[in-house]
């Protein structure tokens, strides 16, 4: 027990340390922000506490302790005939006859089950409550076990995908993004994509709505709405009137011959007029209220830096480039993991909660009453002890 308490304390201290020092950053982050302590941080692995050897050692010892505690508790409860054992106990509270009757009535009022052995009455209630601490320890042990197992199995990938495009994973699974919006029809923020997942065996979800807190899953895959981004959009029309639409990012070069065309520098949220002239606004919030395209016009071996706004058109090399409104695209997280493992993890957490509920709300009661008095045994029915003490002491006072 002492060992378990010490281990819990050490575990708490180590986890606290991990929250005080930012974890898993670049080495330079620690050099800049902890100029006097960074050597110690690197030496003891304090930049990755939750995967450091000492943390894993503490968790392992804690799990061993939990295992032993679970076994001890199981052996203590299983096969133990509480009623027979209680019948051997001596009474330790000895009020007068009226007090004993009051106590006995108290047990009956609290719906205790009575077993008569000789001249002794054994009152019991919530016998299942004795399993509570065993269930708690087993629940924690299984939760930690499945959690650690779960850490080693999932495959996680973050991708950006433009509406109308799809991503094909290594095993042939295809995730298609049909559309993305950041507001619902009432103008409320609601990051939502319409996606389709198709597995290599041909099974598919069909077009499903994906939003924050509502991932879409199929087989071992689950897709999450994580972030979003904004990209430029340019329509290009040739002399015959054929039109194509391109979603562009920085450094994209739109050209038919590789020489004449436009080289995208960047897309900015807007322009700002200052005393020093016009400057480009850098996106902080992620919104693009007055988008500005900055690009290089490449023609005849020369290049000129230019700005364009949505709706502007430019002709070069026999093509017409029309700058459209930017498009928003989703940042998706794709996770592949065992669904069975997740259910086991959830089940073990529920076992832990059941154990706590049983321990705290179904305190086992076992009381022995005979002609001399009564005693409370088994579990720790402190509430009963207090109530009975008050009841019988009052009786004594009256007597």
């Amino acid at each position: 027990m002492t060992c378990g308490i010490v281990l819990l304390g050490v575990f708490a201290a180590v986890t606290a340390l991990g929250s005080l020092i930012p974890q898993q950053r670049e080495a330079m982050y620690y050099v800049r922000n902890y100029p006097d302590q960074y050597e110690m941080i690197f030496r003891f692995g304090l930049d990755h506490v939750y995967t450091a050897w000492f943390f894993i050692a503490v968790v392992t010892l804690l799990c061993l302790n939990l295992l032993l505690c679970s076994v001890v508790r199981f052996r203590r409860v299983s096969g133990d005939d509480l009623v027979r054992r209680a019948a051997q106990l001596k009474t330790n509270r000895k009020p007068d006859a009226e007090g004993i009757a009051k106590a006995e009535q108290f047990f009956k009022d609290h719906k205790c089950r009575v077993t008569v052995i000789g001249n002794r009455r054994i009152y019991t209630k919530n016998a299942f409550g004795r399993w509570g601490t065993f269930l708690i320890h087993l629940g924690i042990l299984l939760t930690v076990f499945f959690f650690v197992l779960g850490l080693s199995t999932p495959f996680i990938m973050d991708i950006s995908c433009y509406p109308g495009d799809s991503v094909v994973l290594d095993d042939g699974t295809r995730i298609y993004v049909d559309s993305f919006s950041i507001e619902d029809e009432t103008g409320k923020l609601d990051y939502r994509s319409m996606i389709n997942i198709r597995l290599p065996d041909g099974r598919e979800t069909g077009l499903r709505s994906l939003s924050v807190n509502h991932p879409v899953g199929l087989g071992q895959y689950k897709v999450y709405q994580q972030t979003y981004g904004t990209a430029g959009c340019i329509s290009v029309t040739d002399g015959a009137g054929n039109m194509d639409r391109f979603i562009v990012e920085a450094s994209d070069f739109l050209s038919a011959d590789g020489k004449t065309g436009i080289l995208i520098d960047n897309l900015y949220p807007g322009l700002e007029e200052t005393e020093e002239g016009t400057t480009l606004i850098t996106s902080v919030s992620g919104s693009y209220p007055d988008p500005v395209y900055v690009f290089l016009l490449m023609e005849d071996g020369s290049q000129s830096a230019m700005l364009a706004f949505p709706g502007d058109e430019l002709e070069t090399g026999g093509y017409t480039f029309r700058f459209e409104d930017p498009v928003e695209y989703p940042g998706l997280r794709i996770k592949r993991s065992s669904a069975a493992l997740q259910w086991l993890l959830l089940g073990s957490s529920l076992l832990l909660m059941l154990g706590l509920g049983v321990t705290f709300l179904m305190t086992p009661v076992c009381a022995v009453v005979d002609d001399e008095g009564y005693c409370l045994a088994g579990g720790k029915p402190e509430g009963y002890a207090l109530a009975l003490k008050a009841l019988t002491e009052k009786e004594d006072t009256h007597a």
Binding site: M1, A12, T15, S349, L356, T359, F360, L361
Partner: protein, 269 residues
């Protein structure tokens, strides 16, 4: 109207604290009874404020630090009222009233604007996760209040018959708080998997909720298995309160993480 209910609630709670203090110092039972009625009036105003704010916001008001603090304070008041009428034990009242008022006063220091619920918080787990957290913190605070009362009584008379009773209630409040905190953590893990793809991310809020859980788990081990109770457990309950407050306030104000929705100034993404 909202401001009247809000500041009215704080005012009534403060008046109840003052009256209850005088009642206990001068042993005036009548004043104590009046203090309780004033406290109940404050509770009604606070409940009204929460309901009205919820109607105006179109959701349960628990989406940022201010709303959580209000709910936390209300949780203390709810448990105190339940304890008062179920057990008829007045010994916890003064310290609990002070805690209820202090947390509500802290809420008054925060921005009160109603914001639209951000997408990340629109989940079926929202109410159960945050609600159980508010009530678990409230239970721990009341355990601390009971601990203070125990220490005060123990200082006057080590044989006081009420000590055993208070000690038992410290244990019960901690066990209820621990059960609710477990619910908070487990539901939070399920929600995290839905929102961020991982049950556990070692986010500062998660870490400190776990530390709080361990702290109270140790206290129950000490009590149930090492027979540490009485004055030791009263001090333990009192000294654990700063950790609960750090998990609630300190983490949100001093550390950044995935739980920044609870930060003082809510931001949208």
């Amino acid at each position: 109207m909202l401001d009247i209910l809000f500041f009215g609630g704080i005012g009534f709670y403060f008046a109840a604290v003052l009256m209850q203090s005088f009642a206990q110092v001068w042993k005036k039972e009548g004043l104590g009874a009046t203090a309780w009625i004033v406290f109940l009036a404050g509770f009604v105003l606070q409940s009204g404020y929460i309901v009205l704010r919820g109607i105006q916001a179109g959701r349960i008001p628990m989406a940022n630090q201010f709303e959580f603090a209000t709910m936390f304070s209300w949780g203390i008041a709810v448990i105190l009222v339940l304890l008062h009428y179920r057990t008829g034990l007045p010994w916890i009242t003064l310290f609990a009233m002070i805690m209820c008022w202090a947390v509500y006063l802290y809420a008054a220091l925060l921005p009160r604007e109603i914001h639209e619920l951000m997408p990340a918080l629109r989940s079926v787990w929202f109410v159960s996760h945050i609600g159980s957290a508010a009530f678990s913190y409230a239970s721990f605070m009341l355990a601390g209040a009971a601990g203070l009362r125990y220490i005060a009584l123990y200082g006057k008379n080590k044989e006081d018959s009420r000590l055993e009773e208070i000690d038992y209630f410290i244990y019960r409040l901690i066990s209820i708080g621990l059960l609710l905190l477990t619910v908070t953590i487990v539901i939070g893990a399920v929600w995290a998997e839905e929102a961020w793809s991982s049950f556990w991310t070692w986010d500062p809020k998660e870490v400190w909720a776990l530390i709080t859980w361990i702290l109270y788990a140790i206290s129950l081990h000490l009590r149930l298995n090492r027979k540490k109770r009485g004055l030791f457990m009263a001090w333990y309950a009192v000294l654990s309160v700063p950790i609960v407050l750090f998990t609630f306030i300190g983490v949100n104000t001093l550390m950044s993480g995935l739980h920044s929705y609870g930060a003082i100034i809510p931001f949208l993404i």
